[in-house]
Symmetry: C2
């Protein structure tokens, strides 16, 4: 499995991804799932991937090939982020068409999804989720994050802490804690964790970070979060139980 | 969907359940999913249910019918908790056999699972999860909780706060916060929340609680938890970004 998330707000964008892949418990590996295709000064393009590795790697390979071809539509010449999202969907569809039937025959799951975040000069920063079928959705201020892969464990902290006005450094911390919560509860998500932070209208990624297993900063954050969470937990009052009479114990008659 | 959890430790047991059922977004209802079949003084038997409602209600109806029949094996005369767990599995299998083929024809999901917690005089308190196939597993000190239904959102808080030695009042609070986190992140889990707490070797449920939508205690706990979580979040240091040179922005070549 995988866990990637993108968060967009007034100040910019944060994207983050783990690096674990697995095909059953016997095939656990480490692969990068966060890719930077920016053209600094003109556009920032970050993609995160989840799902069948041969499919996502195939799509990434196509993106790179098209970048070498001045005739081809590619991540550096498409005029809008929406068109970039459609381009990614189109590449997924081509691979689905060529390889899908072969994998289907052996009942191999051939799904994938992409997060796309960035900004092209002349537009606002944007964040998209592109599905396995090639269609996509865009994040909006009311729900400023999108997730792919193993999304559930890390959602409560996003729901409780994020708004469209959260400062970008806090957004990045939130993304890291969301991935860390997922890693603690699910063995299919694991380090290194890659995080990038993008300030709107800067057209360059100036903040990136890779946290490996055993990284002292990751250990510090994890310990501090664990401790603060315990304190938060202790500060919540105990339950106020109903008065019960032993003779009336049976809730159900 | 549904979310139920059971936690067992040195001091006793806590079981908790939400009350929302849904069959698509058009059929959302409220049904109790936590049932007390205790025989105070001799045994405590708590069951929580998840999955196809006709299946779980059918099983509960069977439990009740057997309790009226002095010849039948039932929840009050089976000698061990293990045998109670097998009995529940057997009832599920009978229903699967009679109704399963009819639902399968229309591709209706006919799965369910049960949590069973309690203590029979002469035994230690025990906690089981019984699967749709009728087999089951028992919680052990290394992992003192079992969950059924929509389990992922509420797992991080259990992973971070529970041990086999956590005081029982803190265990109950943890169960409530686990359900509350799930309710906030997933619309298919909802109030009222039922919680029971059982002190080992007391052979009676003296602590139970039902929290309805808008309950002032639930609102207070939720607000306090939200606030404490924010403080915990703020106390974690911001990310220490790598030094990046604009000319080396591209993570991938």
């Amino acid at each position: 499995m995988t866990y990637c998330l993108g968060i967009i707000n007034r100040a910019g964008l944060v994207l983050a991804a783990d690096s674990r892949t697995n095909a059953g418990v016997d095939h656990i590996s480490t692969y990068r799932k966060l890719f930077d295709f920016s053209n600094p000064g003109e556009r920032v393009i970050i993609a995160c991937t989840s799902g069948n590795l041969s499919l996502t790697q195939g799509a990434i390979a196509q993106f790179k090939r098209d970048l070498q071809d001045p005739e081809a539509a590619n991540l550096h010449n498409l005029p809008t982020m929406y068109e970039v999202s459609r381009y990614i969907g189109e590449k997924i569809r081509v691979l689905q068409e060529s390889d899908g039937p072969w994998l289907k025959k052996d009942k191999i799951d051939f799904k994938c999804s992409f997060l796309l975040g960035g900004q092209i000069r002349g537009e606002e920063p944007q964040l998209y989720l592109i599905y396995s079928q090639g269609n996509g959705i865009q994040a909006m201020p009311e729900t400023p994050f999108l997730q792919i892969g193993e999304t559930k464990y890390g959602k409560p902290i996003l729901d409780r802490t994020l708004t469209f006005d959260t400062p970008l450094d806090a957004v990045a911390k939130c993304a890291l804690l969301s991935i860390d919560s997922t890693m603690k509860s699910n063995i299919s998500v694991g380090p290194p964790i890659n995080v990038v932070m993008y300030h709107a209208n800067s057209f360059a990624i100036r903040h990136k970070l890779q946290l490996r297993l055993g990284d002292p900063y990751l250990a510090k954050v994890r310990m501090q979060w664990q401790e603060s969470l315990r304190q938060a937990f202790n500060s919540v009052p105990d339950l106020e139980w109903e008065q019960t009479d032993d003779a009336e114990e049976i809730i159900i008659d």
